[in-house]
């Protein structure tokens, strides 16, 4: 059993905290590092799409838990997948 990233779209408020907190995202995008959402289409781990978090490139995830800590509503989690 491996631990991986899971998003619960039905719980998500779409605040985007996880998108900007994620160190992998912020390394890949200056916009994200600056606290904004991505202004161009890049390979990010997760983005906010239609008002809720959407996982995009989970294979980039280093499973550090920063996004989990940043989420106010437990809508993104590291758990057994």
């Amino acid at each position: 059993m491996a631990i991986g990233l899971k998003a619960y779209r039905d719980l998500c408020h779409g605040c985007g905290n996880c998108v900007t907190a994620c160190p992998v995202n912020s390394l890949r995008s200056d916009d994200v590092a600056g606290g904004k959402g991505p202004s161009e289409l890049l390979d990010l781990i997760m983005i906010v799409e239609d008002g809720a978090v959407q996982l995009k490139n989970v294979d980039l995830c280093g499973k550090c838990g920063t996004c989990v800590e940043s989420c106010p509503v437990e809508a993104i989690r590291l758990e057994e997948v």
């Binding site: 631990i3 390394l27 590092a33 280093g62 499973k63 838990g65 800590e69 590291l78």
Partner: protein
Amino acid sequence: METTEIKEGKDITVERTGEEERKLLFKDPLCAVCGLCETICPVSAIEVCPTGAMIRTEQDTSKIEIDENKCVLCGMCSGICPFQALDLQIDGESIKTMVEYPQIIKSADIDELECIQCKACETACPQDAITITRELPKRADLITGEIEIDKDTCIYCGMCEEMCPVDAIDIAHQIPSSDSPVVATDIEVNEDTCVHCGICKRICPVDAIRQVCRICPYGEYEIEVPEVTGTSYIDPELCVNCTWCQEICPVDAAHVTKPFEGELTIDQDTCQACETCVMVCPCNVLSFPKSEKAGSKPEKLHKDERFCIYCGACEKSCPVDAIDVKRTKINYSPTKSKAWVKAFESLKN
């Protein structure tokens, strides 16, 4: 002959009984998720879970998984684990006490004769492994003087009792009645407790207290200061040999030998300050420095390598590969087994 695995909470026991009884014990709370066991395992039986996830987030599972179908109970994981999280026992005896097995050389001691029980190490220890107990003398033993209350003058107002910092004054208060029309019947000073500070004398509205401290007029040589006694204890299971106690001790009473030597490099440009490594590090090596003044930008991630044991947990946890842990020396006792030497040496990079 069969290898079985038992899980008790998050602790794991892998067992094989044949000509000898071999038991590999994993204690989850002690594991720092450094990944050395996974690296050294010659049969790839260990999988270490993602370090950041295990330390930063709530997980129901153990920090490592041991495949009992692959594990041959050789004990290499137990031999290398710097955190006492893994232990191989053969017929009830730990291989960490057997001379034929190479032993990681590490130690932490507090010299009882040197220790002054200041508790700096206890406060600094990142693993709460140190307990210092100390017996302090009575305050009154550090001072000498005389105190007397003139009960005829005293009006029993209780100001001295209320202000005394060491509760040395006791007044027998009462509600006046027709047969005893007074607010108190007696006032006592406990001379064993009194520190002769003179506050009672100064606050007394009727000048009923005579008090002298003998320290100032006669000099400090008058009294012998009683010794502070105490004990120190380092929990060998919790200690990670990080040298915090050694470095913070003001009297050089703590002595630590680290298990590994090496080099820790941080790529400040790649680091995104996610704090994972800071939380993961069992030795409090890493921190985020605050700006000293507005506009001055300190380094993103600060390290103090004096405390680093080069376990590699931070490197393993970093999601952007901004940390590099290089081990240049593994300190271990000699062994005749070439395979074990090779395995230990392979952890250098």
